[in-house]
């Protein structure tokens, strides 16, 4: 082999190596930019142009009906494990009697998705957080399981996971030792944003179940959209907060508590 051939071989190797290293250096960047653009779509959904909320007409909420609870459990993969004291409950039915009049009524109780949530205030790591669109969530990656949010919530809306969980739903990841609560079926809310045909938008599981069984006691919608059904109903008949004295400006409102 002549010296020229040897030099050419070395040059080829050098160029080859350089190209390989350049690819290695650039590839993660290309990959990450793809990830970034995918994430950009997801974060678009949580905009402060929306405020997702619910309205519950207690006069239509049937005593003994548990369909909203069943639907929530099915959608989010919640099941009874060690009894009601430690099991998670994102939504529950409560029956009340007025101390003065004796009037009895039934209603579903869930996270009220406050504008000023005490759970978010007290969380040391910021795991308890409120999205721009008003949905209050727990970031399971940084929740340390201190339960201070459970001490702070005026509605007892949160549950602590007391045991190892199996067979979770992909749309609602959960984990032992962390705290959780109603997400307003955020997976459905986020899926709706990619769907331009509004007739295909899905309500949270509890609202859907209440509509499907004909009680129609629950509305879900954008409290900032003047054309939404929920705003129209609120303007027509009003809707009150639970513990309005705390001035938390809840995203869940009730009619007919009296």
């Amino acid at each position: 082999m002549s010296d020229d051939q040897a030099i050419n071989r070395d040059r080829r190797q050098f160029f080859g190596m350089t190209a390989a290293m350049a690819s290695l250096a650039v590839a993660p960047g290309v990959f990450l930019s793809q990830v970034k653009s995918a994430r950009a779509v997801a974060t678009q959904a949580a905009s402060d142009q929306n405020r997702w909320g619910m309205l519950i007409d207690t006069s239509k909420c049937a005593s003994g009906c548990n369909d909203c609870v069943t639907a929530c459990n099915k959608e989010n993969g919640i099941s009874g494990i060690h009894g009601t004291a430690t099991d998670a409950q994102w939504i529950r039915k409560v029956t009340l009697r007025d101390k003065l009049t004796g009037y009895v009524q039934s209603l579903p109780l869930l996270c009220q998705h406050c504008e000023n949530p005490p759970c978010v205030d007290v969380c040391p790591t910021g795991a308890s957080m409120k999205r721009a669109d008003g949905i209050v969530l727990v970031d399971k990656h940084i929740c340390i399981g201190c339960r201070y949010c459970m001490m702070a919530c005026p509605y007892k809306a949160r549950s602590f996971i007391h045991e190892v969980l199996d067979e979770q739903k992909a749309v609602a990841p959960r984990g032992k030792g962390t705290v959780e609560s109603c997400t307003m079926c955020v997976q459905r809310v986020d899926a709706n944003r990619g769907e331009e045909d509004k007739t295909k938008h899905r309500d949270p599981a509890c609202v859907e179940a209440c509509n499907n069984n004909g009680h129609k006691a629950m509305w879900f919608g954008d409290l900032k959209d003047p054309n939404s059904e929920i705003v129209a109903e609120l303007q027509k008949h009003g809707g009150q907060q639970l513990r309005p004295d705390l001035q938390l400006n809840t995203g869940v409102r009730y009619q007919g508590i009296n």
Binding site: T125, A127, C146, K156, E163, T178
Partner: protein
């Protein structure tokens, strides 16, 4: 008055090693309880979605509050210039560090995700009083260690007064933070009160001093070093003052609630046991916190016939029991009383225990973890006084009391 001479404990006796072994056993059982709870999840305890903070928090908060109180003796000597307490200042600082370490160990090991404690140190939500407390606890360690170092290193002695002042201010802020964990909670009737912070500070004075008294007397009795009667009398009277001040704050807290109609429910629940089948919180409050933790110790301290060490140690022990009772009533009683989600309504049916008094009794793993924290604190002290020059060789009155005068020989 001479300059005190500090000397390590010899620490070779059978009794010394036995004490370490006993404390080590408690630490081991505490760790075993932690591993069990961490592996299985919290359902194996009696904590649940109603009583979210249980017995571990009773011990943890008590130890953390007592830690700031244990620094009192050092503060009184450095900041307020009381010379008689100066020889005990290093022990006071050591005990403060040890109690905080024990309390934090329990708090961290009871987390749902204890392995994420690093997240608590790296992700801060500055609106959270809990996040502030994490900074206050870490700062307390750093400041008190520096303070201790300046007291022990002759070259830096001149700066110890400044460090002592800084540590004193820090401990006041720290206990304000601990009390505010409850004071800032708007949702629950038993909390949501600004007085929680100063009340915790005053209670910390008594709890910390009670533990300090027992440690001093035990260390000096068992090591057969001299401990003067004048010093003991001062410690005894100081404890009496702190107990009385604590009772005053507890009285004001309850009187305010009794006056406000909105809080009648929680007050009759705690003070009279209304709605509580076993009246457990009423008993723990009146018998544990007030009688055993307040009135009996005051009688033991101020009864003219009682002047010896035994009555002081008994009074200090009762203050500790009373302190644990107070934490039980505050933390668990405060959660046992149902949330007022629907004022004016009673809940007649709920799958989530709404509107009812929540049941709780401590489980064995919870108690083991809590006691493990106490053992960690004591182990640190017992070990440190052997390897560091913390304890003065003598605490005899002639050595430390600036007003000491030799007894006059009989004419």
């Amino acid at each position: 008055m001479k300059k005190p001479r500090y000397l390590e404990l010899e620490g070779r006796s059978f009794g010394y090693y036995l004490l370490l072994v006993i404390l080590g056993c408690f630490i081991a059982t505490g760790l075993a309880a932690f591993l069990y709870m961490e592996h299985e999840g919290h359902w194996v305890t009696r904590m649940d979605n109603q009583i979210v903070w249980g017995t571990p928090h009773v011990f943890a908060v008590f130890l953390i509050v007592a830690a700031s109180g244990a620094l009192n003796i050092a503060s009184i000597s450095s900041v307020f210039g009381k010379a008689i307490y100066k020889p005990l200042a290093p022990l006071s600082a050591l005990l403060a560090i040890a109690l905080l370490a024990g309390g934090l160990a329990v708090l961290v090991l009871d987390l749902g995700r204890p392995e994420r404690v690093i997240i608590a140190m790296t992700y801060y939500n500055f609106k959270s009083i809990f996040a502030w407390n994490i900074i206050l606890y870490n700062g307390f360690f750093a400041i008190v260690i520096v303070y201790l170092w300046m007291m022990m290193e002759r070259r830096f002695n001149q700066y110890s007064k400044f460090a002592g002042l800084f540590a004193f201010l820090w401990r006041l802020i720290l206990t304000t933070g601990t009390g505010s964990i409850f004071g800032f909670l708007v949702a629950r009737s038993a909390y949501n009160a600004a007085i929680m912070a100063p009340m915790f500070i005053v209670l910390s004075f008594a709890y910390g001093l009670a533990i300090f008294n027992i440690v001093v007397v035990a260390a000096y009795s068992w090591s057969k070093r001299e401990l003067g009667a004048a010093l003991l009398m001062k410690l005894r009277r100081l404890l009496g003052l702190f107990i009385a001040a604590g009772l005053y704050f507890v009285a004001v807290y309850h009187l305010t609630n009794i006056y406000i109609t909105q809080h009648h429910g929680v007050e009759s629940f705690i003070l009279l046991g209304s709605g509580d089948t076993n009246k457990i919180y009423m008993k723990v409050f009146w018998l544990g916190q007030i009688l055993i933790g307040g009135i009996i110790p005051l009688l033991l301290i101020y009864a003219p016939a009682l002047k010896g060490r035994t009555s002081m140690i008994l009074a200090s022990s009762l203050v500790i029991l009373g302190g644990l009772s107070q934490m039980y009533v505050t933390i668990i009683g405060g959660q046992a009383f149902p949330l007022e989600i629907f004022p004016g309504k009673e809940v007649i049916e709920s799958s989530f225990h709404d509107g009812v008094v929540n049941a709780y009794s401590p489980s064995l793993p919870e108690a083991m973890l809590g006691l493990g924290g106490v053992a960690i604190a004591l182990f640190l002290v017992v070990f440190a006084i052997k390897v560091l020059r913390i304890l003065p060789q003598s605490l005899a009155d002639r050595e430390i009391d600036p007003h000491y005068s030799e007894p006059q020989p009989a004419a």
